[in-house]
């Protein structure tokens, strides 16, 4: 069982017309690790997340989750397999309260096609919403409409939406983007807490944070994987330096 990787991306290509957004991407992720993907803008990081979660179809290649092929599965089916993500541009259900947001995320995997039961009596999801509220630290704002939340709280709620589906793998797309130093510190602690029970892949531009929390780092550039390894290995890798800082010769 432990030999089956959690996520396996094999020779994945994605073309948008003439643009090669992903080129022969290979990635294998073991359970219980915090994996980070870094790379300059336009490297294909978010596109990779999009093909993994089924938001856009791959041009070629296979994606396996827990050994099962899920290439080009429907988005909601992939979610039900135990894969959750947050979006780079934060998106929650604006005209619902924090509690309602988390409730529907928890309930979505237990079936929503019961037209006569009162939703407040779906105890399992009500309890789950409370637990997640506590976990992301939004209990005091539970009955606030999501559109009234601050930017940082919306980012937390988005992470809560993903957690409420009880994922086996969590994809975080720039979770601390736009947060102040205090919020960043809290969120990073939360991500580390979550990573104890759930495998995480994180896309993040804040290199300092990445090197602090990641077990393993993949560097992408121009749609391809440039390097993969432990933070120490990546820090010493000359290809990575070139991708970020340009060739030394240019100076």
């Amino acid at each position: 069982m432990s030999s089956v990787p959690l996520l396996e991306v094999a020779n994945v290509n994605k073309r948008f017309g003439g643009l090669k957004a992903l080129q022969d991407v290979n990635l294998s992720l073991e359970t219980g690790k915090l994996h980070a993907i870094i790379g300059p803008n336009g490297a294909g990081k978010t596109t990779l997340f999009n093909v993994i979660t089924g938001t856009i179809p791959v041009t070629s290649g296979r994606i396996k989750f827990l050994g099962a092929d899920m290439t080009n599965d429907k988005v909601h089916r992939i979610s039900k397999r135990g894969l959750a993500r947050t979006l780079q541009i934060k998106s929650v259900f604006a005209n619902m309260t924090v509690r309602e947001n988390l409730w529907i995320a928890a309930q979505s995997h237990h079936g929503v096609f019961s037209p006569f039961k009162n939703w407040k009596k779906c105890v399992r999801s009500v309890e789950m919403a409370d637990i997640i509220c506590e976990q992301i630290g939004l209990t005091s704002l539970a009955d606030q409409t999501a559109s009234n939340l601050s930017h940082g709280d919306i980012a937390l709620l988005e992470m809560g939406l993903a957690l409420a589906t009880q994922p086996k793998l969590l994809l975080l797309d720039e979770p601390i983007c736009g947060m102040g130093p205090a919020e960043t510190e809290q969120t990073v602690i939360k991500i580390q807490e979550i990573s104890k029970s759930t495998a995480i892949i994180i896309i993040e531009h804040d290199i300092e944070v990445v090197f602090k929390i990641a077990d393993e780092i993949t560097v992408m550039a121009n749609g391809a994987v440039l390097a993969k390894g432990t933070p120490e290995f990546i820090a010493a890798n000359s290809d990575v330096r070139n991708a970020y800082l340009g060739d030394d010769d240019d100076d």
Binding site: T53, T55, K74, V75, H76, S79, K80, A84, R85, L87, S91, V92, F93, A94, N95, M96, E100, W103, I104, A105, Q107, S108, H109, G111, V112, F113, S114, P115, F116, K117, N118, W119, K120, C122, L161, A162, A164, T165
Partner: protein, 331 residues
């Protein structure tokens, strides 16, 4: 007074008025207003059907009259061509409308917004012209009048809709059952899923909701409600006519829903009531009364996007807050 209390008073006064209307209305105005109120209740279901889609799942349909028409023709054709009894004709009409909604919906809900709106108009136009030209079945231009079968008959004794009070309470019961059903669905996990899809369909799919199936379910349910309205209207008017399937009728229902307040349960009754009363009072006096309707819609959309129902909600919250702060600052 709490916010929920204000809702409760509002809803209960509506229920009380509805239950006493056959006796109260003749005391105040001409007794034909009882019939008009019956009509308002029936049409409000068509507006409620628009509201289910627009207010809860976020789809703007200009084709709900199609399902109204199917419910209507189902009853008339059932009685005239198949010699069905009262209940079987009623159920036949509703089933026909619901089945049509399942077929049209399975295609239409693949699209959203203007594309969805356009395809619903196209569907209702196709069947409008079919109904007009298929004279042997639908009666074409003349419509399809029928004699209403008795609801129950024990030998000599027959209970029919020709008894005015009985007809009124039959309509009230069916319309009431529909609102009760909508109330239950809106407050169920399914209803929550509707709202979630309305709020953000891309995110809804990412948390594991089957957006297509949820939209389709809402569409079929809305078609069912419109079908009940059509079947009731056929029984009320004792005939079916293609003119009620035209997209003008769908458009009117959209206006009623918007003025009454999309996303509120009883908004459609208020909107429908107001606009039908306006029509009854003004259309005989002023040919261009629709201008007024247009202005009312524009003002509603700009100043009270949640319609009268939404404005009522805001007012109720304001009252509750004032009383709360008075209590706070009091001795």
């Amino acid at each position: 007074m709490r916010v929920t209390d204000t809702y409760k008073y509002g809803s209960w006064s509506l229920v009380l008025f509805t239950l006493t209307a056959p006796w109260v209305l003749p005391l105040l105005v001409d007794s034909f207003w009882v019939d008009i109120y019956s009509e308002i209740l029936i049409w409000s279901l068509l507006a409620a059907s628009v509201n289910l889609l627009l207010g809860y799942v976020g789809l703007l349909s200009f084709g709900q009259a199609l399902f109204f028409g199917f419910g209507m023709y189902g009853v008339a054709i059932g009685v005239v061509k198949f010699d069905l009894g009262f209940w079987s004709a009623f159920i036949f009409g509703i089933s026909l409308a619901t089945a049509m909604a399942a077929i049209a919906g399975s295609l239409a809900v693949r699209l959203t917004w203007h594309y969805f709106a356009i395809i619903t108009v196209v569907f209702s136009l196709i069947f409008y012209f079919t109904a007009l030209s298929w004279k042997p079945i639908t009666g074409g231009d003349d419509g399809l009048p029928f004699t209403i079968p008795p609801i129950i008959s024990f030998g000599e004794y027959k209970l029919t809709m020709t008894n005015a009070n009985f007809q009124y309470f039959f309509i009230v019961t069916i319309v009431g059952a529909c609102y009760w059903l909508m109330y239950r669905v809106i407050n169920s996990p399914l209803g929550r899923a509707f709202v979630t899809v309305r709020e953000n369909d891309a995110r809804a799919a990412l948390i594991g909701l089957n957006v297509y199936l949820i939209r389709l379910t809402a569409f079929i349910f809305a078609g069912f409600i419109a079908g009940v309205a059509g079947a009731l209207f056929a029984l009320f008017g004792r005939y079916a006519s293609a003119s009620y399937m035209f997209y003008h009728v769908s458009g009117e229902a959209v206006v009623w829903a918007i003025i009454g307040g999309v996303g509120t349960l009883f908004g459609p009754i208020v909107g429908t009531g107001l606009m039908i009363v306006l029509r009854e009072e003004l259309s005989s006096v002023w040919d261009h009364y629709l201008l007024l309707v247009g202005v009312a819609v524009i003002l509603t959309v700009i100043f009270a996007p949640r319609g009268i129902g939404g404005a009522f909600k805001v007012l109720a919250e304001k009252i509750a807050r004032q009383q709360f702060s008075r209590k706070e600052s009091g001795p």
